[in-house]
């Protein structure tokens, strides 16, 4: 179960990344949150068959990775976790949509493949951006930013508790699996018959533990308000950060930069 435990520590790694003090980490949470939301909206708004137009958006994660001093492998590993879902969403596109769309030399690409590629790229961009937001801001600060942006408190608190519950769930899960593996000698994982009671146990145990944590929070005066030690005012540089990126995203949306560059180089007419 060593792999499982190290992966659990991995989950916490995202929190540790969030408490760094780089240029990106110093930017106001609200500015980063708004920037991310605009980024996601722009990514989602591209047409179905768009691939080239999306490419310039890769600049955003690249810059954040570099300036935020984040481990590329650590984040990309998490992005990979979402890949199965994405593949399920897009895998039938090449089957249903076989109309030729583009040619690269002798290879004819059908519309299905292009839209599948577009979905993959979009998911990559979106998930990376979301993870980068967490890794450069920290979940509590995001919660605070959401509250500042007038998101109803009940949703924000749900979100924060869910995030915390994730750890509780994982910790208990590791313990349960470890106990199981110590007393099951076939060594081939958990049998379907046992899954039911195992998951039931897990649910009850995590509920208990979550309850105790919540009580500990209440004992220390938690009243639903999120208060941060690193409170700071929204400054001009934060607004400039947000506006700078947003105008870049919007420009990418309306000007196909790769095509424009290509035209510039070979002098074709767009």
């Amino acid at each position: 179960m060593l792999t499982m435990e190290s992966r659990w520590l991995d989950v916490r790694q995202l929190d540790e990344m969030g408490s760094q003090k780089t240029v990106i980490h110093q930017i106001h949470p609200c500015a980063k949150l708004v920037t991310t939301v605009i980024f996601l909206t722009v990514v989602a708004s591209f047409a179905k068959y768009e691939v080239m137009g999306l490419l310039p958006l890769l600049l955003y994660p690249m810059v954040i990775f570099t300036l935020g001093d984040l481990p590329v492998g650590g984040i990309l590993k998490r992005v990979l976790l979402t890949v199965p879902f994405v593949i399920f969403i897009g895998i039938f596109n090449p089957l249903f949509d076989q109309a030729p769309y583009a040619t690269i030399g002798p290879i004819v690409l059908s519309g299905g493949w292009i839209s599948f590629l577009s979905i993959l790229l979009r998911f990559f961009l979106a998930v990376t951006a979301a993870l980068l937001l967490v890794a450069t801001t920290g979940m509590d600060a995001i919660g605070m930013a959401l509250l500042k942006l007038r998101v109803p408190r009940i949703f924000v608190i749900q979100l924060l508790f869910m995030y915390r519950y994730l750890y509780v769930l994982l910790e208990e899960f590791i313990r349960t699996i470890r106990a199981h593996s110590l007393r099951s000698f076939q060594g081939e994982g958990v049998k379907p018959k046992v899954w039911g009671s195992l998951l039931g146990q897990l649910l009850l145990r995590t509920i208990d533990r979550a309850q105790r944590i919540y009580q500990a929070m209440l004992c220390r005066g938690f009243d639903g308000e999120i208060r941060m030690i690193r409170r700071r005012k929204l400054m001009r540089s934060d607004i400039a950060y947000c506006l700078g990126w947003s105008s870049f995203f919007i420009m990418v949306r309306f000007v196909n930069i790769p095509q424009w560059l290509g035209n510039l180089l070979i002098g074709g007419s767009g």
């Binding site: 509590d140 533990r209 944590i213 500990a216 929070m217 209440l218 004992c219 030690i229």
Partner: protein, 266 residues
């Protein structure tokens, strides 16, 4: 508040599944007193502590902390003056760093940032954990976690400290350090524990619980000298009161051969 009294009157509590956990408890703890709550597993110790901080609401009877009865309206005030250290520090530490964890309470009190920082650092220094401030709590050792958990309560400047099994899972050195730390506190202390040697070192008064009832409430030495009472409560004398184990063994070694010899002579 001028005096930090903890008063429990005819306290009764039945869990939703109809288990009767506490029945007819009454006692009064005065300012600066250090009181141990001892008893068998399931005697109701943790349930009692949960009442002192308002996690549980009595089925019958009253709890009074200082000048306030414990009700829904006074809850926030009571939680400000009673600091609860949980049995498992993992339940108590949930923020990404030690500093933020210790700051959680003071921030919730609505204090200005400078004051919060000052309180956090002084609480961490008090428990000797200032060097851990930027570490994530889940990576600390058991003893360090316990110290940080205590600091996270101290930073709220409580008048009364309530602790559930503070020495559980600590190595002997960490345990000794914790006892010294607790000895240096002037707070009113209520400690539920199985560690009777700790009780001997820290608490002048002991309340013995058995099946949800108080079966003794007097000076610690008096309780520990009453063997019938200890047996009834599933306890035994603290090790330090049991005499030297080596001498006891030697004594037996001397007595037994002598007895055999005299028997043979007869």
């Amino acid at each position: 508040m001028s005096h930090h009294i903890v008063e429990v009157k005819d306290l009764e509590y039945t869990y939703p599944d109809q288990t009767n956990a506490l029945s007819g408890l009454s006692f009064k703890i005065h300012h600066g007193e250090s009181v141990a709550i001892v008893g068998a597993n399931g005697a109701g110790k943790s349930t009692l502590l949960s009442h002192l901080i308002g996690i549980l609401v009595p089925t019958k009877g009253k709890v009074r902390i200082g000048d306030y009865p414990l009700t829904k309206d006074t809850l926030s005030h009571i939680r400000r003056c009673v600091g609860m250290v949980f049995q498992n520090p993992d339940d108590q530490l949930f923020m990404p760093t030690v500093f933020e964890d210790v700051a959680f309470g003071p921030l919730n009190l609505g204090l200005p940032i400078e004051e919060v920082e000052e309180r956090v650092m002084s609480a961490l220094e008090r428990v000797g954990a200032a060097h851990l401030r930027n570490r994530p709590p889940y990576k600390l050792s058991g003893g360090q976690k316990r110290s940080v958990a205590i600091a996270s309560v101290l930073s709220m400047l409580p008048d009364i400290l309530v602790m559930d099994e503070p020495t559980a899972g600590l190595d002997p050195k960490a345990r000794r350090q914790l006892i010294r730390l607790l000895q240096s506190f002037t707070h009113t202390k209520v400690i539920a524990t199985h560690d009777l040697d700790l009780v001997l070192d820290l608490c002048e008064r002991t309340i013995v619980l058995s099946e949800g009832k108080i079966i003794a409430d007097s000076s610690t030495l008096e309780v520990f000298n009453d063997e019938a009472l200890l047996i009834r409560a599933h306890l035994e004398q603290p090790m330090s009161m049991q005499g030297c184990p080596i001498c006891r063994k030697n004594e037996m070694m001397k007595i037994v051969p002598m007895a055999i010899a005299t028997h043979r002579l007869r």
